[in-house]
Symmetry: C2
């Protein structure tokens, strides 16, 4: 499908985790439109499974939605940081765990109608516990959760963060495939 | 977990699909932080399956990410509109199809670290074809897709929009449960 061409780009805001710009574009079929674009740096989520088969979830207050959410350990890319490096850093900062192996699981656009945010999800195995080092404005509770219990919380809507739902369901689909392949 | 308390809210931008505000908050453990919040009106996605078992996907150019994406039919809530009404309206506008039945499948936060966006996903059945009525700035191609082919595109990362990945995987999990229940 043909691209929309930027005619004018108006910078509105530069911030800590996001920028906002408003562009005027030429539509492929003729005419113009306004496109509001929130620029994020992109981020990662980590499906980390410990030696007892539990997935590490974190509970934290999310100001934007006004409530606690249960999520995968996650974070935002530092400038120039590779997603896999970010995954290792955030897993350790938020949970204290190091991991021997990180594997890319999937990546997705969180809300491509209005933002450019890409989230990269990794699986992490070979975990070694350590001491969490959350950022100054983060309060995070680590909750190791049995795999089936985590999937049940997805099914019941108690886990409702996109990267967490996608990470758990994609990892589960991969497990189902491995099981079939071994049969 | 204790909430963060708003000390000051600075309105930055009001737009067509989003607003931006920047708040100063008191942290539960003491101290303050800045929270950037993109306000969206919320939206819907629809997993609509036709009489041949195909799911209706739509391909459209997404300016924010600079490429075409294959997605569920979807859209933004009008002021005062209920999600299920929005689902019926958007399905018809984007694909031309009406549906006899809409059922809530799940809802999720697309990116709760920086936005309040909630996406409501419905299943739609009992489809009747009609004539699409896209908005003036939308160019949408409707692609009815075999269920297994759609899941394979999710597994290969060719479908990478959060609501579409979540809608297809949650609907698939529901189907697997029904199959087990019938056995």
């Amino acid at each position: 499908m043909t691209a929309e061409i930027t005619l004018e780009s108006r910078h509105i805001y530069s911030g800590k985790i996001l920028n906002l710009r408003v562009d005027r574009v030429a539509l492929p079929g003729g005419g113009e439109a306004i496109r509001e674009v929130v620029e994020f740096r992109g981020g990662v989520g980590i499906v980390a499974v410990d030696e007892m088969g539990r997935v590490l979830l974190v509970r934290q207050y999310r100001y934007a939605v006004g409530r606690d959410l249960l999520e995968l350990p996650a974070g935002i890319l530092e400038p120039g940081e590779r997603p896999i490096e970010c995954a290792a850093r955030e897993l350790e900062e938020e949970t204290g765990y190091g991991a021997a192996h990180f594997e890319p699981l999937c990546r997705f656009y969180s809300t491509p109608g209005g933002t450019d945010e890409v989230l990269h999800v990794f699986t992490a195995t070979g975990l070694t516990p350590g001491r969490p080092r959350p950022e100054a404005d983060e309060r995070i509770e680590v909750i190791p959760t049995a795999w089936d219990a985590a999937l049940a919380m997805v099914a019941r809507g108690e886990i409702s963060d996109s990267k967490t739902v996608i990470g758990l369901l994609m990892a589960q689909a991969g497990r189902a495939d491995s099981t079939r392949a071994e049969e």
